[in-house]
């Protein structure tokens, strides 16, 4: 019996903006032939001719020799049996899952949040409440929901009041979204009461939330007026929900942005990190979007409500991982995320990380160094470990098949900057102008 064991060696890195976890390096498959381990002990066969010619002495010593050999063979057999027994007991009692962090009291806020997420109606839920639920689990339920609600409500009222002042059509989706766009990118003041709103700014510091996960949060964005490509689009969606505007989250490598349809059914992209309307080609120019990624619809597509909810599960899992680490609870959360959105690139990435951690943990427990070819062969005694390895490899294949390509951090920053260049600025202004034109028209009289 020969089995082929595949192994992926991967660097465990953690980066990316939209909480993408570690990226599987180039797939390095290695083949290990499995030698048969039933090495039969060699038993000496007594030469029968000796008994014919040899004397009694000779015969006696021969007999002894035979006995000795047989004895040794039995002993060998015994040892082997013991080894097999040991392995069998390890296999039976060994726990092939990650140890739980449930002994930490703070994890229970996450367990609660998860229970509540499961209750949510996948087709119709409040983005505001769901996002608050996820962020609050990280803060151990210390956030003030009422204050948060009030803040959103005030902002919504501000938007409506400003729309009225500017003479925008309150029923137009174009107008609502344009107002939201202005809210994020311009200084606005209400003439009636002098209330002023300053634009949100991009926070370059730790924009991936590596040192401080709360950098990703809407609560942080509201408190500091600075955010990044995770929190800004989410706040946009929350406010859009508040004023009943239609807008969607869309993903691109390490990034998320807003898409919305205008009153003529034409789609627009809003890039909140620099307050611009972005063209499709400026997004594609990141250079890390493969055609396979587009045909599998992992990037540049409106996320449906269900897919957005899946995204919240991923956020929950990511917060948990950053706060505590990998265990089977995050695996459960991600399973749910994938059930809602099987092609979700973010959920698939987190899953591959969990699978990898689980496999590495099991290897550690079995005292096998998976990076050592010779040691790794010992995995053959543990069918369950082989299964885990297969799962890891399958997950990498899935991500590869989805057309994902890793975008390095500096390439990402370069791309964000390039969105700012002259041509894109002009494109944005042109789009915004076209837009304004359509806003005035629906005005009554």
């Amino acid at each position: 019996m020969r089995k082929i064991i595949l192994l992926l060696l991967l660097p465990i890195l953690a980066f990316s903006q939209v909480n993408l976890p570690s990226v599987p390096g180039t797939n390095q498959f290695q083949q290990y032939g499995m030698p048969s381990f039933e090495n039969k002990a060699k038993v000496l066969v007594p030469n029968t001719t000796n008994t014919l010619f040899g004397g009694a002495e000779q015969q006696k010593s021969n007999q002894q020799l035979i006995q000795e050999v047989e004895k040794r063979a039995i002993e060998d057999q015994k040892i082997k049996q013991e080894i097999h027994q040991d392995i069998a007991t390890i296999n039976a009692s060994f726990n092939y899952s990650l140890p739980s962090f449930s002994f930490l009291p703070a994890t229970h806020y996450y367990y609660e949040a998860f229970e509540r997420l499961i209750q949510i109606d996948t087709a119709n839920f409040s983005i505001k409440n769901t996002n608050f639920l996820v962020e609050n689990a990280f803060y151990e339920n210390q956030q003030d929901k009422e204050a948060f609600d009030k803040n959103i409500k005030n902002s919504g009222e501000f938007l409506i009041a400003k729309m009225k002042e500017l003479g925008y059509d309150l029923n137009s989706n174009s107008a609502k979204n344009y107002m939201l766009f202005q809210f994020f990118s311009e200084t606005l003041q209400l003439n009636s009461n002098g209330l002023k709103h300053l634009p949100f700014k991009y926070d370059f510091e730790d924009f991936q939330g590596i040192n401080d996960w709360s950098k990703m949060f809407v609560t942080k964005l509201l408190a500091t007026k600075t955010g990044q490509c995770h929190s800004m689009p989410l706040l946009y969606l929350i406010l859009a929900e508040e004023i009943n505007a239609e807008a969607y989250l869309a993903l691109s490598p390490n990034h998320s942005y807003i898409r919305f349809p205008d009153d003529n059914g034409k789609w627009h992209n809003i890039e909140l990190t620099n307050g611009m309307f972005s063209t499709t080609s400026s997004i594609l120019n990141s250079g890390y979007i493969k055609s396979e990624a587009l045909s599998n619809k992992i990037f540049m597509q409106n996320l449906s409500k269900k897919e957005l909810l899946s995204q919240f599960y991923v956020d929950l899992a990511m917060g948990y991982i950053r706060k505590f680490g990998y265990d089977e609870f995050c695996a459960k959360v991600i399973e749910k995320a994938l059930a809602l959105y099987p092609n979700s690139i973010n959920a698939n990435m987190v899953k591959s990380n969990i699978d990898t951690h689980r496999f590495e943990y099991v290897m550690f427990k079995l005292k096998i160094n998976p990076r050592d070819k010779n040691q790794l062969q010992n995995i053959r005694y543990y069918p369950k470990a082989i299964e885990l390895l297969k799962e890891v490899n399958q997950q990498y294949d899935t991500i590869d098949y989805l057309g994902y390509e890793h975008m390095p951090e500096d390439a990402y920053m370069q791309w964000l900057q390039s969105m700012h260049d002259e041509k894109n600025k002009q494109d944005s202004e042109k789009l915004a102008k076209q837009f304004k034109g359509t806003l005035i028209k629906p005005l009554k009289n």
């Binding site: 180039t26 797939n27 390095q28 498959f29 083949q31 499709t280 080609s281 594609l284 120019n285 990141s286 250079g287 979007i289 493969k290 055609s291 396979e292 587009l294 045909s295 619809k297 540049m300 590869d400 057309g403 390509e405």
Partner: protein
Amino acid sequence: MPKSFIYLLLFFNIFFATAQKQDKLFEESYDLLHSMIENDNNYNFKKAIFSVENAYLDGRLDTTFVNSQIDLLQELSNAIINSKILNYEERDKDIVNKRASIFSIMCDTIPIKINDTIYQYHPFGYDFNDVFGHKTRENLFVSKLLETKTGNCHSLPYLYKILCEEIGIDAHLALAPNHVYIKHRSIKDGWYNTELTNKIFPIDAWIMASGFVHIDAITNGVYMRALNNKESIALVLVDLADNYNIKFPDNDGTFVLKCTESAIRCYPNFATALILRAETHYKQIEKIEDKNNYHIALKELEKEYAHIHQLGYRNMPEDMYLNWLVSLKEERSKYENKKMNTFNKN
């Protein structure tokens, strides 16, 4: 009345006799391509291409010459495989090595030593004249490429695919507006593009940023998808139909429709075939005299065009195409696949 009808029939029979002879080669070529679609065992890209070219050339294709050329290139490829060590260590290195040899043949000047004399092998070049084969269809032919050593985005990838199959590996054709290129997949780099006109490995953004690729076109597989062998035959079927239209400008469209229908069956979102079918329908509709029927047919045609638009197809003007092709040279650093240092020497 019936008598005159018979005379008329006879007259047309004689009239078409000559046309039918020429026609015959096209029909034969169609049958061959069709059999390749029906039965995988019949598939042979080289045969498919040369049968189409032979039909257009009225059977005057120098098969001995093209075959000997291809055999020669195959030998050269084997020599390269044996002499070159590739900086690639994955399980699929034999295949990648073979691809590299074909890429070398297409793109590199190679010194060859025969009996202590060094000869220079010159690669295939790009012919900027008549890129679309407007002057003569022969400019698109692989046989022309083999003869003159210059070709375009039609003949170069076709020859690449033929050579790959001759040495026993696959090559996937892929489409972009007015363009054909090569897609391969390797363990190390996943899917990657090979662009023979500029001899580089461009990233997908190059094609996406051309401005004529709607995202829907990518999602629907109109462009940028690695085509399988049957879909590649669909491309050849449309070549056959195009050639037929040039050869017999006043044809009634039956043959062209037969080709396009066949092509669309194995590649439903193949924009070029859908457009050619719609254009042929339009030619037929123009001949309808009854006003009512004419309008009904026109409505149907509108649906066809709407479908093509919906798939994400947008027409790319021909001069834009050349600008875009050249952009790869000018913005090489931006669009070059930096992972492909395995055999990207220049």
